[in-house]
Structures are given as C-alpha cells and as structure tokens.
Amino acid sequence: MSMPECGARVLSYVDALREGITQEMARDPSVLLFGLDVDDHKAIQGSTRGLVDRFGPERVFGTPLSEDAMTGVAIGAAMTGLRPIHVHIRNDFLMLAMNQIVNVAAKAHSMYGGRVSVPLVIRSIIGKSWGQGAQHSQALYPLFMHVPGLKVVLPSTAHDAKGCMIAAIRDDNPVIFIEHRLLYFTETEVPEAPYAVEPGRARICAAGDAATVVGISNAARDCLRARALLQDTGITCEVIDPIWLSPLDTDTILASAARTKRLLVVDNGWTTCGAGAEIIARVLERAGPGAGIQVDRMGFAPTPCPTTPWLEADFYPQPERIARKVLCMVTGRDDDWTPNAAARQQSEDIAFKGPF
C-alpha cells in the first residue's frame, strides 16, 4: 500500500498477527491458544513462534488430531469463561470442525436465549502457491458468512491482521479469522500500541472514479496491482477491502458503486454462492433498479485447484485479468490490452517456495 511515513514502524503480516495475539494474551489471562502443531519449530508459518516460551504450555499447546473435539473443547471453554484461539494451518481443515462451528458455536447464544456467549477465535490460513492443490488451497468463507451467529474476517494487510486479531479476541462471539499464506510476508505500517480494527467497517484502499473494485483477502492486493497496471490507460478504479465479511459494510461499497456506476467483486474463492454474489446482491437491492450500476465478479476457476504451476496460475484471477475486466467494464471493449512489461513485472505475486 502507501509508503510508510518516515520513522513509522513497518511490520510483516505474520509479525503483526503474532504481536496482536501476544498483546492480548499479556493483557487478558483468560486468552489461550491451541491447535495442531502450534508449538512445533515451524510455529504455524511463524505466527505462534515464541508463544509457549512467553505464556507457558498451559496457555499455548498443541493438540491431538481431533478438529471436531477440539472445536467443542474451545466452545465449552469459551462458554465457561476462557477466550480460546483455535488455530488451523489450512482453511480446508475447518471442514472437520463444521458440526461444532455451525451447530454449536453459532447457535449457543441465541438458542440459550442469551444466557451464554462463545468468545472464540478460529484461525485458519488459505494456502496458495507451491502446489497447494485441491485440499490445501480452499477459501470457504461463504460457508461461514451463510450462518447467523458467526463473524467472518479476512484481513489483507499487516495493519489489519493485528487490529482484526485484537478485535476478534475481544469480541464475545465466535469469529472465523481467515489469513492468507501469501500475505504473511507483506509489510505495512503497524502501530506498536494495541488497536482494534472493528467488525463491520470496510477500507477504501485506493480512490478512483472509473469503477469500484472490491477485493477479498489476497485478492485485495491483486486489485491494487490491477489498479497500478491500468495507470497507462488513464482509468483509475477505487479499490475497497471489506475486511469483515460478517458483519459486512455494505454502506461503503454502495456509496462508491453508486458514484462509479461500476462494481466488480474479486473473490478469493469460487464465485458460485460466493461472497461476491452476496456483496453484489446487497448493493443492488439497496441501490434499487434506477441506480444503473453495472456489476461483475471474478474468482477461482470453477474446478478444484490444480497442483501444477502451469495450470495453477490460471486458476486464480490474476492482476492482469482483473485489469482487463475493469477496462472492459469501462470501455465496453473486449480488446486484448496488455500492460507494459515493467508494470507487469511489478505486479507479480510473491512465489512461495516449499517444501510445504
């Protein structure tokens, strides 16, 4: 994003995330963190490094391979006064915890007439690059958006990773906190003092008037890259990161789209029944038939993610394609525009090198 001011502190996404967790654990002794392999030497891509040393094995521990039970344990602990953070190295693995998340965590407060609450953070990482393949690349946040009682957040910057983590831990509801592996080493300015990036507020990442482009998680970065690619053409789009998908800040997106008259949502997942569909529906419902807002969406190719890099690249809505889509929406022409080589090189994603 923007260059940090002179003297401002810059942190990577992973360090910001860990700092948010550390500050909250230091502030509140009822916060604990557990999950498969959170205490090994890889420390969930570094995000839990040092936490056992700092807070002890009672508050930070690895678990047996039991996502279902451990989610229930987290809920039971949350209902009785602790504030657990349950960590999963991939979003895909939450499928083993769905029963507890959907049938218990999301329901308890309402089903028991407000007598209990479930202050719980469930962290998981979306995989991409180095052949994550069909079962380590999924971004299944629409499943959680669908369910009342859950909050869903996908921070795309280091700043928001820390602020959203703090907000999530302090929230009295189950929060599905979804990270992206390629964002882990991106950097932004991150204030040292604790701060919350509150639920339900989107961020306008870059201003523009030709089109409104909403990007979710890593796709927010791709949208900013697409915006940069378009510089030559004189077209500037407004890029919005919703940050929180539940609750969703429809107002900010609507206000922008009502002005630009064009709304493109770039999902970081499949488009069918996806977050993009929901965002567009909400904007159009609110804008009404007379608003004349042109809409489109992009997302993963409608297929399981391939492992081979020759196909993997095409699975994702890359910056160049996003730029072309915006161009097409604005000019109405579907010509094969290509960005200049220098800009193109700058827009390339960080490649992740294995072994995992």
Binding site: T63, D68, A77, L82, N99, N103, G113, G149
Partner: protein, 316 residues
C-alpha cells in the same frame, strides 16, 4: 457412601420430582401446549439422580437433548423449564431452546445439545476452564450409548485423559439409538474396556441400582477432584417411553414389552419410597405435586415472547 435416611429421602424426592414432571409433560402433550419434540427420561432417572447427588453445587453438568432428568437433578428451576417447553418468554431460554436445550447457569447446568455427542467436547472444554482457573470444580457429562459411536466421543476421551481434565463421562446405555438396538450397532458390548484403553478408569453398572450408581460416581468424583484425571461410567438403563414423544411404543415392533419388564420391576422410585416412612413420603409427594401444579400454571399464564425477540441474541 452408605446412604442414611436423609440421603434416601433426598434421592427419593429427586426421582419423584423428575418422574412426576415427565408424567405431567406426557399428560399435557396431547393438548399441543408443547409444540416441539420431547425426549423423556422416564425409567432412566436413577442415572442422573445418583450421579448428580455426588456433585457439589459449583460442579457443572452437561447433557444431551434427553436432559430433563439432569436439569432437574442439578436443581434447575421447574417453572422456567415448563415455560420453556411451552415456548414462553419466561422459559430458561426465552422459548428459543425448548425441551432439548435446557440450561441453568445459576446452578451450573451448562446446557443440552440436540446434535448427538456435541455436548461431550463442550464438557471437556468446561473442564479445561476449571483446571486452568483452578476452581476445584469438576464437570459431569451425560451421553447415550449411540453417542459413543461418534468419533468426537473418542477424540474427547483421548484429550481429557491426555490433559487429566476434571470430567466424569456418564453413558446412559438404554440399549437403543432411536429404534436400533445395540446388537445392530456394536460388534462387542465391551464399551468400558474400549474406553479404559484411552487411559482413564472406566466402570459399568448393570443393575440400575441408584445406590450403586451413586457409590461409583462418588468414588470417581473423589478421584477426579484429587486431580487424577477423568473417569468414565457406563450405566445400563431402560427407556420406558418412545424415543421422542409421550407414549409407550412396545406395539411398534422393534422391542418387546417383555424386555422392559425386569426394568419396571426394578424401578428405583417405589424401592426408595418403601425405604422411608409413610408420613415423610406423603409430605415429599405433596411438595412435588404442588411444585408441578405451580409450574404448569405459571407456564400457562406466562406471555409468549414478543416478536422483536426473533432477532435478539444473534450476537452477544
């Protein structure tokens, strides 16, 4: 833990209350005042009563949808329970939970869950809280024989044993998962042996004797309280009514009435009633009837929840 006269009277009153409350629920059910499913514990009350009698008020209880017995044995409010079944605002959950989701935080009843086995890891999580906070309280969780077939039961046992958490698992083995008998579900009935291999003491009580249940629970509760980790007990029992609903269902063909006979003959309620003197028994019975009459009258007169409650409590 040899029961003295006061113990017996207390156990009798608890058994009597649960039995009579559920009979009253069954009686009112055909009037459709209760417009939601009910899973009665009639015939199984001794399990909740015997186990919960060994717990302290600060100890926590969790249950499945078949939760009336555990809720009442733990001291849950009867008026709020019946109001909940009637769907009224004064119910334990403002009418949003119904019979399957009784909760009473004021007496440490953690709640009841209708997705089989989901309450098991929650209880383990509650036990984790007690251990981390050093409260000294323990957790007892009631589950059916069917629930032991779910993977999460085994995951929960393993984790509780690994971390030596203060939780007592109580399997109420009534021989059926809905209409399917054990023989159609288990290759062997050596449940306690299976469980013991996770590294926790496990015992089975086969005769439904409320004193035997209470003794076994007392021993386990003492050991759990001593910090020696979780324990498991399987209590064989029998459900007299249909799986869900107020009626008998021996005519349905999946189980013969003769199977119920020994359990009915072994009913712990008259057995305990005979152990206390008639005058005291009459006083208890009268107390129970009054409480029930008051609770049903309360529920009847209570207001339905206002429409704005629909969207209340989606988030805390």
């Amino acid at each position: 833990m040899h029961p003295n006269r006061t113990d017996i009277a207390r156990l009798y009153e608890s058994l009597r209350l649960i039995r009579r409350v559920e009979e009253a629920i069954a009686d009112v059910y055909p009037t459709d005042r209760i417009k939601s499913p009910i899973h009665l514990s009639i015939g199984q009350e001794a399990v909740s009563v015997g186990v919960i009698d060994t717990l302290a008020p600060a100890d926590i209880v969790a249950a499945s949808y078949r939760c009336h017995a555990a809720y009442l044995a733990k001291g849950g409010d009867l008026k709020a329970m019946i109001a909940e079944l009637f769907g009224k605002a004064a119910g334990v959950a403002g009418g949003k939970g119904g019979s399957m989701h009784l909760i009473a935080p004021e007496v440490n009843m953690l709640g009841a869950s209708a997705v089989v086995a989901t309450q098991i890891p929650l209880a383990v999580g509650a036990a984790l809280t007690q251990k981390m906070k050093g409260t000294g309280a323990i957790v007892a969780v009631f589950l059916g024989d069917g629930a032991t077939e779910e993977g999460v039961f085994h995951e929960s046992l393993n984790f509780a044993a690994l971390k030596r958490l203060p939780v007592l698992f109580v399997c109420e083995n009534n021989g059926y998962s809905i209409h399917t008998p054990l023989r159609a579900r288990w290759a062997t009935d050596r449940l306690t042996e299976r469980v013991a291999t996770y590294g926790l003491p496990a015992a089975r009580i086969a005769d439904g004797d409320v004193f035997a249940i209470r003794d076994q629970a007392a021993g386990f509760v003492a050991s759990i309280r001593d910090g020696r980790g979780p324990a498991f007990m399987e209590v064989q029992t029998y459900r007299w009514k249909e799986h869900v609903g107020p009626n008998a269902d021996f005519d349905a063909g999946y189980r013969p009435e003769s199977e119920a006979r020994p359990w009915i003959d072994n009913d712990q309620l008259p057995r305990l009633g005979a152990l206390i003197d008639a005058e005291e028994r009459a006083a208890i019975d009268a107390r129970v009837e009054t409480a029930i009459a008051e609770a049903f009258a309360f529920a009847e007169a209570a207001s339905p929840p206002p429409l704005e409650d629909l969207l209340a409590h989606v988030h805390a």
